[in-house]
Amino acid sequence: MAPGPVIDLRGVTRRFASGVLAVDRLQLQVAAGNIVVLLGPSGSGKTTVLRLIAGFEQPEAGEIRVAGRPVAGQDVYVPPERRGVGMVFQDYALFPHLTVAENVGFGLHHLNGRDGARRARVQELLGLVGLAGFERRYPHQLSGGQQQRVALARALAPNPAVVLLDEPFSNLDADLRARVRAEVRDILRAAGATAIFVTHDQEEALSLADEVAVLWAGRVVQLASPEELYRRPATREVAAFVGDANFLPGRAHGEAVVCELGTVAAPEAPEGAVDLMLRPEMILPIADESGNGRVVAREFYGHEQMFTLQLDSGATLRSLVGRRRHQSALRLGQRVRVEVQGEAVVFPAARGGAAPDERGE
């Protein structure tokens, strides 16, 4: 692999004919062998970024390099077929008139005339995705998960510099999704591929990615490892979008913030009015008739449970409690005292508007 990022987007801007700014001066670098997930709500421009890299869209400004080679920018436009990128489409886009082997071998046209080499590569890929023996089937004769793996094998076959995957799991049943996700990740690792996923599903992003790039209104607002992203979201929006988040107003002073729940540790807080962000697992309700809140809802998940608490001020909090905590005794309507465990993340106080809560399509 060449040194430097495999994918390099600098100041990339794409405006649609309707005037909507889909991608706004976007910066993104992806290192070889990395799996990066573009995470964002619908309309955040993440699919457009993928299509810009693939060459289906052209940027108005900025530059795109693939494996060090400029493919789009001022006076440069390399068409998709010469960019050396692979792509797995949302509904797989398997060619229904071709067999599995013909689909996987479709990108190996440089091996035309060398049927042996071509067949070997197809076999290799089908082995990698665990579909050896399915060569003569047609796409409609496969299950959704199998189609998914054929699409992946087809994208990987020509050894692309990067594989782009556009919401690849959205067409799978929920129980299948987690398993296929792990499979795809393992296959990509085994192939040593660089990959960029696009998804609006934060759980998927966190479980797949080496790095997650959160897109908001056409820009990357945070590029970080899943842990970092969860623990230290860069903005309120990211915090709300990645995982569950509780927000409470407070006043920061020194390394602590004073709020409705008392004094909470917050190492990097600025002085003055702030919003505290508390993850549900940081909030611990304890049965206490003199407490300042009560339980209004309970969702039981077996190994843990989620409580919805209402404070006397009217604010609601979500609280995730492990089973070992013996909090199962908490009844609906029970008055509780709320304790905070761990350090809070602090944002400048929001002016009136609530945090965006859109995360689905």
């Binding site: 060459g55 289906f56 436009y77 077929e81 990128v85 792509m87 440089h110």
Partner: protein, 548 residues
């Protein structure tokens, strides 16, 4: 077809640094005949033109035509919608046969249909004769008024023979939409009738609009049927003007007025029709799984449904064909055989010009439909529709002048006929090609591109093979419309180069039906029917998904 009307006139995305849209460039020459008409219309002195238009009694005329075209459309709906629904969604006996028969009435040119129904229902027709014999009256006694010779009669004939337009669009829409939607409506407590009115019909709205629009348009610009049945419409008025003043400029002006009305109609339909709702289903690939096992059992309605289908087939096919056969049989088998043998040159002429015209139309339609499929806007496709709305005689005559001015070598050759068919029928071919392409996810092409194919390579290896059944349908549509075209052919054919419709006309010229006209008509219908059969045979029996 549903999306075929979706002209995204205003949302063309112009790509930076790209060449002008090739579709627009190719569609431009189609504007030449239009431009020539405008130029001709300008030759007419304006007061004359105004007078001409005033004399046409526009309000009455428009009202009559609206009733005529509206009536035809309603009849086509009444015949074709239940037909399409029964064969796709129920277990009616003979489902496959009726499904195959659905588009076949297209093979009967409406003017031939009018001849057949006139022979049946006219004051001296077969029914009249039979009745007279029954009650023992003379056959020259008028027993009932000439019902067929009225706007209602014309609407009847046009509706019956253009019902396939509705059948084709509705049936393909039903095949594409999942029965799950209807089933969920049932589960929500709607009766079967309620489901039909509140779910199936609204879902079919784009298909109904597309098919209905074709019928309406066809009835609006029809010349053959209304002139045979002596109904005064825009086209017959134009024709009479043409003959009265023997002046093309005047009728060019009127034709343009007709064209403008059609254009407005088109805009209205797409405005009103496609509102903002989306009708395409997401994930349709899997929604049709097991369709075969989910047909609604008709139970005690089975016989009624069968009777309905038989009735529809009788009206659109059996009855007219039987009348033509009865007429033809008057010739006697020996004479008929000898006469048939003489028709070979006309068969060959018809096949040659219609096939060439269909290839030209498909070629152009592919380019424009491709552009639309790629999101480059529907303007070129919309331009192509104009040809369909120009009366054939006027178009033919203006092509004479145009070709003599631009390409004198082309005039007087059969090639000009193919060009005329291109101008006339690139519109319908575009609609069909566009419908075929709209079935293919753009991701198919993109997948081929990232796997190293150039745009042409992706088209050749992926998109065209996938669209080929639909494109064959588009070709067939253009072919059928071309092979039965009469008005422009009469004007443009080189001397000595007759086609089958011309022969039908030659044998029906003046008064009285010549049995030979019926023989030629049957020959023409047989040819078209064979073409349809060929397409039917190569079409996959069911969607590949359902095989799994």
């Amino acid at each position: 077809m549903a999306l075929a009307l979706h002209y995204r006139l205003l949302t063309r995305s112009v790509h930076r640094g790209r060449l002008p849209d090739p579709a627009a460039v190719l569609a431009l020459p189609m504007l030449l005949p239009l431009g020539y008409l405008v130029w001709l219309a300008l030759q007419a002195r304006l007061p004359d033109l105004a007078l001409t238009l005033a004399r046409m009694e526009l309000p009455t005329l428009v009202l009559r035509m609206a009733l005529l075209a509206g009536g035809a459309t309603l009849l086509a709906f009444a015949l074709a919608v239940p037909w399409a629904w029964l064969v796709t969604r129920t277990d009616v006996p003979g489902r496959r046969l009726f499904q195959a028969l659905g588009p076949l009435p297209l093979a009967v040119p409406p003017y031939v249909g009018a001849i057949a129904y006139a022979a049946l229902l006219a004051p001296t027709g077969l029914v009249h004769e039979g009745l007279a014999r029954l009650v023992g009256l003379s056959t020259s006694q008028v027993l009932f008024p000439p019902l067929l010779y009225s706007p209602a009669g014309a609407a009847f004939v046009l509706g019956v023979f253009s019902a396939p337009y509705v059948f084709i669009t509705v049936q393909s829409a039903l095949e594409r939409s999942s029965p799950a939607l209807e089933e969920s409506a049932r589960s929500l407590g709607l009766s079967p009738a309620g489901v039909f009115w509140r779910v199936t019909l609204p879902l079919l709205r784009p298909a109904l609009l597309a098919g209905g629009f074709l019928v309406f348009l066809y009835a609006w610009v029809d010349f053959g049927v209304v002139s045979l049945l002596r109904v005064r419409t825009f086209t017959t008025v134009i024709y009479n003007q043409l003959l009265a003043g023997l002046s093309l400029p005047d009728s060019a002006g009127s034709s343009l007025a007709l064209l403008v009305m059609v254009g407005l109609l088109l805009l209205l339909v797409q405005r009103w029709g496609l509102g903002g709702a989306r009708y395409t289903q997401v994930g349709s690939q899997r929604s049709s799984v097991g369709l075969g096992s989910r047909r609604q059992p008709l139970g005690r309605w089975k016989l009624a449904a069968l009777a309905y289908l038989l009735g529809a087939v009788a009206l659109t096919l059996a009855l007219p064909l039987a009348v033509l056969a009865t007429q033809a049989s008057k010739l006697g088998p020996l004479v008929a055989a000898g006469f048939l043998a003489e028709q070979w040159p006309f068969v060959r002429n018809s096949l040659a010009v219609a096939a060439t015209g269909a290839w030209l139309a498909l070629g152009l339609a592919l380019v424009t439909a491709w552009g639309q499929w790629k999101g480059r806007g529907g303007l070129p496709g919309a331009i192509l529709q104009a040809g369909y709305a120009i009366p054939g005689t006027v178009l033919g005559l203006s092509l004479v002048g145009l070709s003599l001015a631009l390409l004198p070598g082309l005039y007087g050759t059969a090639a000009l006929l193919a060009v005329a068919y291109l101008v006339l029928f690139a519109g319908p071919a575009h609609q069909a090609a566009q419908a075929a392409l709209s079935q293919i996810a753009p991701a198919m092409e993109e997948a081929a591109r990232v796997l190293g194919r150039t745009p042409l390579g992706a088209a050749r290896e992926v998109v065209l093979p996938l669209a080929s059944p639909g494109l064959a349908g588009a070709w067939l549509m253009a072919f059928i419309l071309s092979i039965r075209e009469l008005a422009a052919t009469l004007v443009l054919r080189p001397p000595g180069f007759d086609t089958l419709p011309v022969r039908i006309w030659v044998h029906t010229m003046d008064v009285g039906v010549d049995p030979r006209a019926s023989v030629v008509a049957l020959l023409l219908i047989a040819l078209v029917g064979l073409g349809w059969l060929a397409v039917l045979l190569v079409r996959p029996r069911s969607s590949p998904v359902a095989l799994g």
